[in-house]
Symmetry: C2
Subunit: 144 residues, 2 copies
């Protein structure tokens, strides 16, 4: 019941992009340095985000990545679902319908449904823009 590094890194990556993208693409090396994450691993993660259309890439020197849309258009839920898959905690509670076969009415499924709803409620109501704002507040409190 943990969120993997892939998901956490993806979030930090996009947050970084949201903060530092001023119109020009931002290259991975810089992000990796700022976030202290292996560049090679980030590469893997951002390629996923690229294919999903979350970011856009520019190749060649001075190339890099940029967000495809405004930060407020990205919810944490979208990002985590891309990297983690469905956030509902067990498969048989997903929209695919349960095939567990037990005829007991599968009382546990209710627990998983409630849990899934609570999780989605949180992650679908936080956007990258919120996180950018939080970060700015932090920086005001703790100026370097």
């Amino acid at each position: 019941m943990k969120i993997s590094t892939k998901g956490r890194y993806a979030l930090r990556l996009l947050l970084d992009l949201a903060v530092y993208s001023t119109g020009d693409p931002v290259c991975l090396k810089d992000i990796a340095k700022r976030q202290q994450i292996s560049e090679k691993y980030l590469e893997q993660i951002i390629s996923l985000l690229n294919k999903a259309g979350v970011v856009r890439s520019v190749r060649g020197p001075q190339g890099g990545y940029m967000l495809n849309r405004a930060p407020s258009e990205y919810t944490v839920g979208m990002i985590l679902r891309l990297t983690e898959g469905e956030l509902v905690p067990v498969s048989c509670a997903g929209q695919s319908g349960g095939e567990c076969g037990r005829r007991e009415g599968c009382v546990s499924a209710r627990v998983w449904e409630q849990l899934g709803e609570a999780i989605n409620q949180v992650v679908d109501n936080i956007t990258l823009a919120d996180m950018v704002k939080w970060q700015q507040e932090e920086e005001e409190k703790n100026p370097d």
Copy 2:
């Protein structure tokens, strides 16, 4: 971001125990049969619950297990934490305090905290007694 079979089985196991324990111990074989779970695997799981004091065991013939307290005394959260560990989705958001070292104020941590709170809110407010009740309602709707 999934709950493992261990956690799900533990829940079903205890629910079964709550439903079928009439004062006499219930043996694993019966539970395994009803729940269609490998007896050997259940053994492993219930041993954990036994050590944690959730159930009590009686050895020898006619032996088995019984709940140590009333079903209303067990929350889903207690059970899942025993089998899954902390339910907060990443370690640095736990009460142990973050040691991630990044000085950015760790904005992502806020996300994990909110998520953790939402999860706990759900699982700590469902008890085994609730689940027993749900199951009885199901049985009224779908009599065999």
